[in-house]
Symmetry: C2
Subunit: 417 residues, 2 copies
Amino acid sequence: QKPRKATPQTGEDTLNGHLPPGWQSYMSPQGRRYYVNTFTNETTWERPSSVPGTPKSPVKPANSPSVLTVNGYHTSGTPVHQFDSGHMSLRKASGDPQERKTLAETKGVLSETSLMINCVTFPHPDVMPEQQLLKPSEWSYCDYFWADKKDSQGNNTVSGFEILLQKQLKGKQMQKEMAEFVRERIKIEEEYAKNLSKLSQNSLAAQEEGTLGEAWAQLKKSLADEAEVHLKFSSKLQSEVEKPLLNFRENFKKDMKKCDHHIADLRKHLASRYAAVEKARKALTERQKDLEMKTQQLEVKLSNKTEEEIKKARRKSTQAGDDLMRCVDLYNQAQSKWFEEMVTTTLELERLEVERVEMIRQHLCQYTQLRHETDMFNQSVIELVDQLLRKVDPAKDRELWVKEHKTGDIRPVDMEI
Amino acid sequence: QKPRKATPQTGEDTLNGHLPPGWQSYMSPQGRRYYVNTFTNETTWERPSSVPGTPKSPVKPANSPSVLTVNGYHTSGTPVHQFDSGHMSLRKASGDPQERKTLAETKGVLSETSLMINCVTFPHPDVMPEQQLLKPSEWSYCDYFWADKKDSQGNNTVSGFEILLQKQLKGKQMQKEMAEFVRERIKIEEEYAKNLSKLSQNSLAAQEEGTLGEAWAQLKKSLADEAEVHLKFSSKLQSEVEKPLLNFRENFKKDMKKCDHHIADLRKHLASRYAAVEKARKALTERQKDLEMKTQQLEVKLSNKTEEEIKKARRKSTQAGDDLMRCVDLYNQAQSKWFEEMVTTTLELERLEVERVEMIRQHLCQYTQLRHETDMFNQSVIELVDQLLRKVDPAKDRELWVKEHKTGDIRPVDMEI
């Protein structure tokens, strides 16, 4: 079972047309095209070649966590090396790296362009950039669960990912309950078969004779045959429907818990990175205040000493600016890591759900197939009885009985004197 | 149900060909042709005319005991009048009425031409006249149950008619047991239906959603539909098979008892008539001895007195001869009456048995018909489930679910300074 092929996005039909099986091309938030393997969820910037064996970069072993590049970041197992490239792309995104911003400017930019919700940075509604869905026209999990949600009571927030996990666990439960339902049906069939074969053994009207007797005997036997049919049905229900439904994904709950923790940890990490950013921002503010004050002092009375202090304060302010810059970089890395895992994991959950639905559909079809066969076999059972009923012949039966029981065919005659 | 038309006897095809419907012509033991109406068992010497309304003689009301003429006797409701005609025909049968037989002759004739078994006179094996079956090629009851039989223990004798009655009562019992068997089947179907509809109400996997949820709901509903099918089957089994089998011929045993007593009484009457014959025969012997003795006395010494006594003895001997003659006539009448009732009653029993077999065959066919319908209906029940299973679509289900549960499709972006 693989998920049904994604309908290509408008404008890239031709491109998609030549991708190897399973690969889809999507647009990153920055409008850069990247590629997702819908089987392995492997993702890459580089267009996968249809020629077998052509290495794709980044080259990753199948079992390593899948790699995704988003938001201009390219993150993989080795953060430090990745940091720079990430840093570089961040620079590209936010214009000339050498330019220094004042506190006011910084604040302004932040409030105008983005919105902070539960330590996640979203684009600001007013100045929201055009975001194309990762999988348009597919209602893909990876596109609709970015925000958190207040739970039913409205006390705690539930992450979009948790909602997906609950869906998965509910699906597992449904599958288990269907197996139970089939089990109950099996019991009913076994009981029915038991009663039929018991009645078939019954000796009622066993002494009926001749062609009628034969038809009756076959009718009684037909109940044993019916019982056989229903027993076969119940045993096939067990092996071909109940067991598969029951045994499908035995460790599913554990696996989901692992996913849950993994994503939750990434969110916690993101939160701590955000705290660091805030702290660095405060520090910068302090340093800039100090620098301003010292500059005013200089205007009042000129002296070498103050000149020195201003230089020192400017140095510290610049350092604080660099600190904030580094903290923001680390925050953005953490958010990208979480983003990457969200996409790959939700794509995986999506695949699992498709698999579950297909699996259940298959086994319910198997159920109707077995029910159908049961009716067919039952009909053939009755055929035999009908054949003998057609042969029933009272005259023939009388002949058989008279031949066996006749007392004498010589008729009396008158007595004579 | 009337008995299947008797195959005409060789040599009278043409004759039979022109008889009114239901009439068959047969040969009496004396080789005289007589006619039986296979519907009413009415019997007559006179060839029934096909012209409607042509009176047949003897003319009898439909409800009066059917009239049969056999063995040269024509017996009906009025014995005295019949006695003469019977007497006459007897005479024809036994030659010149005026001729007197001596005791020796009488004995001789009796032992040579006939055989007495349980007071019934059968033709003697050595001098047996050619007897054609009343219904050749039909194995008719009326042809094969004339003799009595020692029962299994060999103590008492059982009449051929009783054996026929036992067959009838056994048939009635078989019919009753078949009804019981069907009753048991009905119970099994009701139990099965109860369990199916109960399971159908069960809430297992009721929360499954989307197209899969619809298919699952239909699958559960289909059990209720199956239950309906089996309930319908069981109720039709009751009204169309069990009840008819059970209620067919409610007073049958009583009717058979009546038959039994009627025929038994005729046999008793025959026995008493036979006793009278034996008594009269002894009396004749006495008279003939006395006459002989007196004749010898005459040779010894002649006297008027003896002359007188001889005349008197001869008169008495003649009278005793007439007595014996009358007793034999009465015996033959009784035997003929019994014979007549044997033929008509066994023909009726034959008809009843054919009727019973046909009735049972019909209702067993009804059973298989109902079983067949049950399988057909069950298949249509499953069709509905199959239709919905074909419509199951994971992508559609995901769309429905995502639309309902999505938290937000705006993706995070990098934090800027």
